[in-house]
């Protein structure tokens, strides 16, 4: 018996999935969720095998929710329209259903899932999916992090800088720092290069936060931020910084 979650903010949309699922006795819907927060909780609670996930949802979208899950389950996206998302699905998702979808199309998706179920899609695949989805404009605007059991949404304007921290990245804001289970490369791709520059292998800074740049040892510099933080700038980072600042 496979356990499935349906996460969609429209009750009627969840109903369609539930109705179509009646044909598959081996899949049981353990819960329906209204939004990403409920979804996150339910995923932790039930550890489902399969999630039907809408993209556009209140507060945090489907991708952002997935980012917060440690070991994402197999995901079938159900969405109406989002060209960026579709690009992401095409490359990495188990399957995606464009609303409104037919029963036949739905059955195909389930069969596809069942066929590859034994070797559940690796979390690496989901990782790649999220990285592709990160190019969607909605994703440039905020960073979603988890603090304890709570989800925090950080608008990118509030970000001072990011620092690599072992396997995580620390997102520094005026309120403090937040850990996110992502790579520096992920953030470098996701954040708008006009406002954020990777000045060092382990640092990305918000350009607007810089008050001055001091020379430091040979070839290296130090960027002093408004908050007083001193961020090392590597030789190549300095070149990039000069380019963006136009000096």
């Amino acid at each position: 018996m496979k356990r499935a979650l349906i996460i969609d903010d429209e009750p009627l949309a969840r109903m369609v999935v539930k109705e179509y699922l009646q044909n598959f006795k081996q899949i049981e819907v353990v819960q329906e969720c209204n939004d990403g927060f409920e979804g996150l909780k339910a995923i932790q609670q039930y550890q489902p095998d399969l999630v039907f996930l809408d993209v556009q949802m209140p507060k945090i979208n489907g991708f952002e929710m997935l980012e917060l899950v440690e070991q994402p389950p197999a995901v079938i996206f159900t969405t109406a329209f989002d060209e960026y998302a579709i690009k992401a699905f095409e490359t990495h998702a188990v399957d995606y259903l464009l609303k409104p979808f037919s029963k036949e199309r739905f059955n195909k998706a389930i069969e596809k899932y069942l066929a590859l179920a034994p070797s559940t899609p690796s979390s690496k695949q989901t990782e790649e999916l999220l990285e592709t989805a990160a190019h969607s404009p909605a994703q440039h605007e905020r960073i979603v992090v988890k603090t304890g059991t709570k989800v925090k949404i950080i608008p990118v304007q509030d970000v001072l800088y990011l620092a690599a921290d072992d396997d995580y990245v620390s997102v520094y804001t005026a309120e403090g720092s937040f850990l996110k289970n992502k790579t520096m490369n992920f953030f470098e791709k996701m954040l708008d290069p006009r406002y954020f520059v990777r000045v060092h292998r382990s640092y990305i800074i918000a350009i607007q936060q810089i008050t001055r740049i001091d020379p430091y040892e040979k070839d290296a510099h130090l960027a002093i931020l408004k908050s007083g933080a001193k961020i090392p700038v590597s030789k190549t980072g300095y070149v990039k910084l000069k380019q963006v600042l136009g000096i």
Binding site: E10, A13, P58, A80, P100, E141, R142, Q157
Partner: protein, 343 residues
């Protein structure tokens, strides 16, 4: 061309001036004591040559507008044409007229003839230049106006297209769900959706419609959204009789309400009340749309999304004013206010 009449008039004037010129010169030459035949020959040959020169310079300028700094070329042209005319007189006139006195008169007057030709051709050149540059300018202006109109139409069309496919596909999906267990409601929703879409397609941007009509159309949209989101979405609409008949550009409210719903539904997780209030303030129809939002996560700077920018642009295009829309955000409530001047 519309200028046919004026250009035929122009030709008339040109010929008239030429004849006047010929007669005047005949009279002057005669007053120097030459017989009428010689004076007539002199006058007309000179006038014909001058007319040719004028026609040439005019034609030349029709296809070539000198830019800044190349006016010297025109001067050189005038000089050359005047020279050719002078030599023309010098060679043609002795063939037609005889007499030592006339030959002397001719060779002595060559310098003054050259200057007169030069002035006349220069004058013609100046008139042509002004004339053609004026025509050019008119045409440029026309083209510019047309381009502007086209761009404006395209822009309005694009703004209209913002009626996102999201809404359409999600509505269809809801209908898909309803068909199974509530076929009557599904049917009703299909009718609402088609009425709404038909209304959207039919509406002319340039048209001013009464608020009542606009609200009716909006209601179709709201009803569909309510089916999609269930009890999460509620709407409050207040509009008295006087406002109901006030005019506003069609489809102006739509993007504002869409924006309110989107913000409300996707920025909060609780129940959402979107309120629309209309009232008259002097000569303005004032419409206020309010929705809840979360100041913690909304991007304050991006508060006016594409939809609202489009509304502002439309108001600007129609009323040429930039102060007809404002937005406020406080106490978790986002407010959009538009003022529509009543003409």
């Amino acid at each position: 061309m519309a200028s046919t009449l004026t250009s035929s008039k122009l030709y008339g004037a040109f010929i008239f001036c030429g004849l006047l010129w010929a007669n005047l010169q005949t009279y002057i030459v005669h007053s120097f004591g030459f017989i009428w035949y010689i004076a007539l020959m002199d006058g007309f040959v000179c006038a014909i040559l001058l007319a040719c020169a004028c026609w040439l310079i005019n034609n030349n300028l029709r296809y070539y507008q000198p830019g800044k700094g190349s006016y010297i070329n025109i001067l050189i042209w005038c000089g050359a044409l005047a020279g050719i005319c002078t030599f023309g007189c010098r060679w043609i006139l002795p063939l037609l007229c005889s007499g030592q006195a006339y030959y002397d008169f001719l060779s002595q007057s060559l310098a003054i003839r050259f200057f007169i030709y030069f002035l006349a051709v220069g004058w013609m050149a100046m008139i042509s230049m002004i004339w053609y540059s004026q025509i050019d300018q008119k045409e440029n202006e026309k083209r510019k106006n047309e381009a502007e109109k086209l761009a404006r139409d395209a822009e309005l069309y694009n703004l209209r297209q913002q009626l996102q496919p999201h809404f359409l596909f999600n509505s269809l999906n809801s209908i898909n769900a309803l068909i199974g267990f509530k076929p009557d409601e599904a049917r009703k929703m299909i009718h609402q959706l088609s009425d709404f879409l038909r209304g959207t397609l039919k509406k002319d941007d340039q048209l001013q419609v009464p608020l009542n009509e606009e609200l009716q159309h909006l209601n179709l949209y709201l009803e569909i959204e309510k089916v999609r989101f269930g009890h999460r979405l509620q709407t409050e609409i207040s509009c008295d009789e006087k406002c109901g008949s006030a005019l506003l550009p069609s489809m102006l409210l739509q993007p504002i309400v869409e924006n309110a719903i989107k913000f409300g539904l996707y920025d909060t997780t609780g129940d959402v009340v979107v309120s629309i209030r209309a009232e008259m303030e002097g000569n303005y129809l004032v419409i206020m749309v309010q929705n809840p939002y979360d100041p913690q996560t909304s991007r304050p700077k991006k508060g006016t999304g594409f939809g609202l920018r489009g509304v502002q642009r439309r108001l600007y295009l129609i009323f040429a004013r930039n102060d007809l829309m404002e937005t406020h955000a406080n106490d978790n409530i986002f407010t959009t206010i538009i003022k529509v001047p009543q003409l």
